[in-house]
Amino acid sequence: MRAEDKAQLEDVAGVMGEVAGQLGLQPPAVSFDVVPAEVMYEIAAYHFPDRFPHWTHGQSYHRQKTGYDHGLQRIYELVVNTEPCHAYLMETNSLTSQKLVIAHVLGHADFFRRNVFFSKSNRFMHTAAAAHAEAINKIEKEHGLEKVEQTLDAALALAMHVDPAREFFRQKSMAEYEEERLRPPDEPTMDYDDIWFMQGKPRKTPDRRRKIPPEPERDLLRFLGESSSILDEWQRDVLAMVGEEYRYFYPNMRTKIMNEGYAAFWHERIMEHPNTRLSPDELIEFQQMHSSVISQGHTFALNPYGVGYKVWKDIEKRWEEPEEEKTWYGESTKRAGGEGLKKVFEVAADYRDSEFLRLFLTEPLVEELDLYEYKFEGDKQKRQGNWVVQQAPWEELRDGLANHLMGLEVPAIAVVDGDFEGRNELLLSHDAGSDLVPLDFDYARRTLGLIHSLWGKPVHLDTIKDDKHLRLTCNDGKAVDVKPF
């Protein structure tokens, strides 16, 4: 970068930072890099400047690049939640784009520090990721590319099955589970004990059997890494590294709409602030870019920038200059007003996408944003048919969307028994009752094959499809049987 370009960006960032501060934002320190397109795709594909090698990163790079080459998408910036935050700006951005992008980055950076779901994130994850990359390179030299790739394939297939709340809640230790298991049943000692027996229910005697895992375990990656008897130490390391990285990514995925919307909400404020001193031409260029970022939906998916932005604007308006609203009980109510930004900051601190939309997506917004529910109609076996927009009351749409975002499309699958029928087989169970959607069996088959490669013994998965209880069993790492049970 030329010295005068650097000086210019320094001026811009200084002014933007000052305006952001006046508006109430408190972004942490940000380290900006201006990078060529190729580097941008790399960081977009790897998420960190330095990360372990895997072919899926090559796939992701390819997608970024073809998207860009075909003019479908353009990355202006990337921000990584680290200490300081790292922001990457595209070299080819015009000066006005750079200003917009810096303002946008300030919004993201503020959000990272404000939102509770990021409060336990490892802000040195870029360093950790680089260390993982180095470790995996070393493992590759020792054990060969092929074995490492197979292990990474399996680990990445399960990478969403980690416990995103692990940093928030204390885990019971094995000793505590043992103590609970071995503790003799309580004798009735209190005066009110008889209340518990009023309906003639016998006191529950705890299961004395030692179970593996002691409770159903949703963190498949951790369970396999810690409890499989066939893995080499380096494989356990690989699983742990992948788990650590994905736990770090979880808050990003859970707040995508809020975070992008929040950044758009603030970049507009900052850019239009008089102290930013944009020229009329720059203002017009900015407004064109801004409206193209927030306006269009993606047909098969929401535009997180647009949806988030509109909901934030609406929250601000409803708390700043409130109109009469109906409560959940149908009573008329009106807020005091003048608390728009206060509410915005409050929501930014405490919510994630699912609750954000469940509470703040209103009927007029659903209409304005043109949100809809759609389904496949046609021959499911042959997968020939149409994607058709469904008739759905707006509340149903809102709740469905919120549920969709809550689970991040990851089926609720837990290890229930690591010593199934005393044969050291693995029994997984899909909580179809809460997911309400059947699994994709084709994908489940292939995933079970990968789990088998980590477990080394038959792997079973119980689920429900079309009201039938089915057990998928992978005995040899290849074929999977499906049987009713």
């Binding site: 933007m16 790399e42 790897y46 043109d370 496949f376 997968r383 149409n386």
Partner: protein
């Protein structure tokens, strides 16, 4: 959050990033390799893809690649609600209305704005020649003495030698400089001075003699009442690839089309693939016709001969066919029989071959008679997906033939 310090701190890094680029190269290469591996696994889809069957070698086609995506547990995309947001493409007077069709399955990836749910179909771009290349890694001609080696000779030029004289245009400057340096060094003063009388070196060519070999395929098809469009398409797909394959092996490939019900006739390509069925079935006439054409036009001493018959295997003169196939085997490199059938429509007079495979009467007889003759190949074609396994069956690599023998 820290409430006191509100000054925004930042750094602009000016180090060049160009050196950093290229880190993804290894993963991109590995991904490409996996695309190719997956494509090889998908060949049976691709081989029967109509666009590819009918296109020429240079055309770039987008090939859907299934199963490349890393698997994971996911919900059935065809059984689940999804959420979308309108854009100009879907909006009709402002709001997207219930009942609007957002897209047909399989089209979503072409949509500019987004991707249809659940598609793990990755589209890679290949030329038909690329695909042929991949197919041929799995295919080989039966190991048979090739005919016509001495008949025709084709020559090509290859630069293989170096001479001290030649046209200036062929000057090999690198070698010339090396010679000059060596000579100067020998004289005790290393340097690049060129002595035009001693140092010049010219590239020179040799004429390469390639034996030209020719092959003829007899594409024979049963057009009796029981054979319809579907069968015609299977035969067409098969012969298209067979011709492409043989063109790679031989410098000249002829193809003779013969249709047959009770009488056989030689027809043009158009008629061959579009004639629909009528009448009874006497396949012997097709073989006879082929032998007749061989007598007239394709001397077995200079032509490699590949007769293939497609029939449903319900025929009036099975015994005669066996005799004629024996005759054909004497003059041919390989004789093939493709039994076209619709799975699920077997009737009572099917018999089972030695490997438990169920054949129609003609196929069953062939199976018994020619089982030990590796120049006779047979395969069943029920659906488009069978074309690729059928081709592989007919054009097995030598070691595989031995392994299964």
């Amino acid at each position: 959050m820290n409430e006191k310090d509100t000054t925004f701190r930042f750094f602009i890094n000016a180090e060049p990033w160009d050196l950093h680029s290229g880190r993804a190269r290894r993963d991109i290469a590995r991904h490409d390799q996996r695309v190719r591996e997956t494509l090889r696994g998908n060949l049976s889809d691709i081989v029967s893809n109509e666009d590819i069957v009918t296109s020429d070698g240079q055309k770039i086609i987008r090939v859907p690649i299934r199963g490349l995506e890393l698997p994971r547990f996911r919900f059935d995309p065809y059984d689940e609600k999804h959420y979308g947001q309108g854009n100009e493409g879907t909006k009709d007077n402002g709001q997207t209305q219930p009942g609007t069709i957002l897209g047909k399955t399989g089209e979503g990836s072409g949509n500019q704005a987004g991707h249809e749910p659940g598609t793990d179909v990755y589209e890679a771009e290949f030329t038909v020649d690329d695909i042929l290349e991949m197919m041929f890694e799995d295919l080989a001609l039966p190991d048979i003495e090739e005919r016509g080696r001495d008949q025709l000779v084709k020559s090509s030029l290859e630069y293989t030698t170096v001479r001290k004289t030649g046209p200036w245009a062929n000057l090999d400057s690198r070698r010339t400089l090396i010679e000059a340096y060596k000579r100067n060094a020998k004289m005790g003063k290393p340097g690049w001075d060129i002595d035009e009388t001693q140092d010049l070196r010219f590239k020179s060519w040799e004429e390469k003699l390639d034996p030209q070999t020719n092959a003829v395929i007899f594409a024979m098809r049963d057009v009796s009442g029981s054979m319809g469009d579907h069968e015609a398409y299977l035969a067409r797909t098969f012969f298209t690839w067979m011709v492409r394959f043989l063109r790679k092996q031989y410098s000249g490939v002829d193809i003779a089309f013969i249709t047959c019900h009770t009488e056989a006739q030689e027809v043009d390509e158009q008629t061959f693939f579009h004639l629909s069925g009528s009448g009874g079935t006497r396949m012997g006439s097709a073989y006879q016709k082929a032998l007749e054409i061989i007598d007239n036009r394709y001397n077995p001493s200079s032509w490699n001969i590949y007769p293939y018959l497609f029939s449903d295997g319900y025929n009036w003169d099975d015994e005669a066919c066996v005799l004629l196939v024996k005759k054909l085997l004497d003059v041919s490199n390989q004789v093939g029989y493709g039994e076209v059938n619709h799975y699920g429509h077997w009737d009572g007079d099917h018999s089972f071959g030695q490997d438990g495979q169920s054949w129609a009467p003609l196929g069953a007889l062939y199976d018994r008679t020619f089982r030990s003759d590796e120049r006779f190949v047979m395969s069943q074609f029920g659906a488009k997906e069978d074309v690729w396994p059928g081709l592989k069956q007919f054009l097995r690599k030598r070691h595989e033939v031995l392994a299964t023998a």
